[in-house]
Amino acid sequence: MSALQLDQVSRLFRASAGGDMTPALRKVSFGIDQGEVVTLIGESGSGKTTLGKIILRLIPASSGTVTFEGKDISAFKGPSLREYYRHVQGVFQDPFSSYNPIYKADRVFELVRGVYFPAMGQPAWEEKIESALAAVALNPGDVLGKYPHQLSGGQQQRLLIARALLLDVKLLVADEIISMLDASTRVDILNLLVSLKRSGLAILFITHDLSLGNYVSDRTVILRHGAIVEMGDTVKVFGNPRHPYTRNLLTAVPELHKKWQPTAADAVTRPADVAGAGHAPVPATALDPPRLTEYEENHLVAEDAA
């Protein structure tokens, strides 16, 4: 059984006062196992962050269910919600805005202690912090007692992951956690995700960068306009993309040793250029996503591919 299971999850937003509802997510279903990295890839406006927020209970789903270890997460409140957050944690894109600049950066640890470990003694707590920092390859002397501006972006992001590790975390939602970091530190965070996964953590890695997603993940889910167009084993999805949308995304990836190839359908390369449509809204009637069919074992493709 998957640690986390999404079943027909949809989310509608009202685009303007009194306007129509726009679907941001359309009946998305997939699961994440323990010890697995699932990459969620999509362009801006595809609904990937919305999905992460639903899993973290920051916003409710409009319909569909999310179950964690067999329990519907929408039912959690009070103590049971706190218990949920003991196991499911998120790290977000911008580390610079995750900290309060007035306080020292390690205050994020103290906040966890206040809620989850009020009875823990100082020596035990310090030991816990030390092992969490060791897991993210940070040297306590470099980061403890420092203000956020004294830390690099990579250190800040690691500190937030360490904060999640203080808890008995089983699922980490990592939403674009490296897109604001330098290439030279990105890899270190990616390798950290791999080592956490090997220790049994389930990770939802949300990104728009295909090569990063390809590097870390076991399974890949490609989202377009809130619906899954292709998903399955990462090697299969990237090695043999079946959906034209996936193929076009792949041809647009800048590679060091290969120049961009002309694309078959330029319409896809230049998305949303329809005047006035920032992200060409899907007509409300299209709430039903294209059906997914099995192309091969562990590789599903939306039926509109043909």
Partner: protein, 330 residues
């Protein structure tokens, strides 16, 4: 030579003293050339780009010349530079697409901008519409507010605005960052197209993303901690980098198809030195696996092969690979 920068040094005044994110930088960009400028954050890329166009109040020009089309620009004089901006040199600052005035339609914004440069909008409006259509947008964007446009559309409108008066040099600071791959590609191809059509003679594209630079640039210059590390053709930088910093930057990039279970990529340990009191010698030495005693002296930025310049003792003195024992001796 269309753009020639000689020995340019720029400092910021800070309470802790002057910091110098651009130190003795010299380079040229030919007509029709797109030059990439790469390096980690805090290496002085943006400061260098800004200083050629827009020397803001807290920046101080310490020395050096900037010559565009044979004419020396008064880069140190904020007011005197005014008549050269947009006409000779243009800058798309980082995040500019998020700074478009939300209370003005794009068309009105353009008019304001042109008036402030004493250009009548009727003289260039048709050309602007033509360029908007050229890159595949609808000229109706002129009637839109910036928040009605997607990130990629805003970025392209920003570049059209900055190049409307056909400047000789465009500095594009992180114009492809924070965009989706397909939009990134559209913006990158737009820069090449504008260069090909002569809307702008030379471009300096600043980004930390070397794989985007590999797509669109003719040459790449790598900066580290305020100094130039390496400059060569884009193909040479990508295929045969000489400076250890360039090599390590490239080694940290995952390419499509590379997976953790096959190849473990490595980042660069440590971070760039603080510029308040930078190391005396080679600034990369404490992160460099090849560092030797000699590196306590600053290496000159010199030509090592035709068209290739590097600031590294290992390269100019031809040290063999793997100087680990040397390093411990040092």
């Amino acid at each position: 030579m269309s753009v020639k920068v000689e020995n340019l040094s720029v400092a910021y005044r800070m309470r802790a003293g002057d910091v110098c994110p651009v130190e003795g930088v010299s380079f040229t960009v030919a007509d029709g050339e797109i030059m990439g400028l790469a390096g980690e954050s805090g290496c002085g890329k943006s400061t260098l780009g800004n200083s050629l166009v827009f020397m803001e109040g807290r920046m101080r020009h310490l020395g050096g010349r900037v010559v565009v089309d044979g004419q020396a620009l008064p880069v140190a004089d904020f007011r005197a530079m005014r008549r050269y901006r947009m006409t000779k040199v243009s800058l798309v600052p980082q995040y500019a697409m998020n700074a478009l005035n939300p209370t003005r339609r794009i068309g009105r914004l353009t008019t304001d901008l042109l008036r402030s440069h004493d250009v009548r909008e009727s003289d260039v409006l048709e050309e602007m519409k033509r360029r908007i259509r050229l890159i595949g947008l609808d000229e109706d964007v002129l009637n839109r507010y910036s928040f009605e446009l997607s990130g990629g559309m805003r970025q392209r409108v920003t570049i059209i605005l900055s190049t409307l008066l056909n400047p000789s040099l465009l500095i594009a600071d992180e114009v492809t960052s924070a965009l989706d791959v397909s939009t990134q590609r559209a913006v990158g191809e737009m820069l090449m197209e504008f260069r090909d059509r002569g809307f702008v003679k030379s471009v300096i594209a600043i980004t930390h993303d070397l794989s985007v630079l590999a797509q669109i640039t003719d040459s790449i210059m790598v900066m580290y901690a305020g100094r130039l590390a390496e400059k060569a053709s884009a193909a040479d930088i990508v295929n045969a980098p000489l400076h250890p910093y360039t090599q390590m930057l490239l080694a940290s990039l995952p390419e499509v198809g590379v997976r953790y279970d096959k190849v473990t990529l490595t980042g660069i340990p440590g971070r760039p030195p603080s510029l308040v009191n930078p190391p005396r010698g080679c600034r990369f030495a404490d992160r460099c696996p090849f560092a030797r005693a000699k590196c306590a002296e600053a290496p000159p930025f010199e030509q090592v092969q035709p068209g290739r310049q590097v600031a590294c003792w290992k390269v100019s003195e031809g040290w063999p690979e793997g100087g680990e024992h040397e390093r411990s001796a040092a």
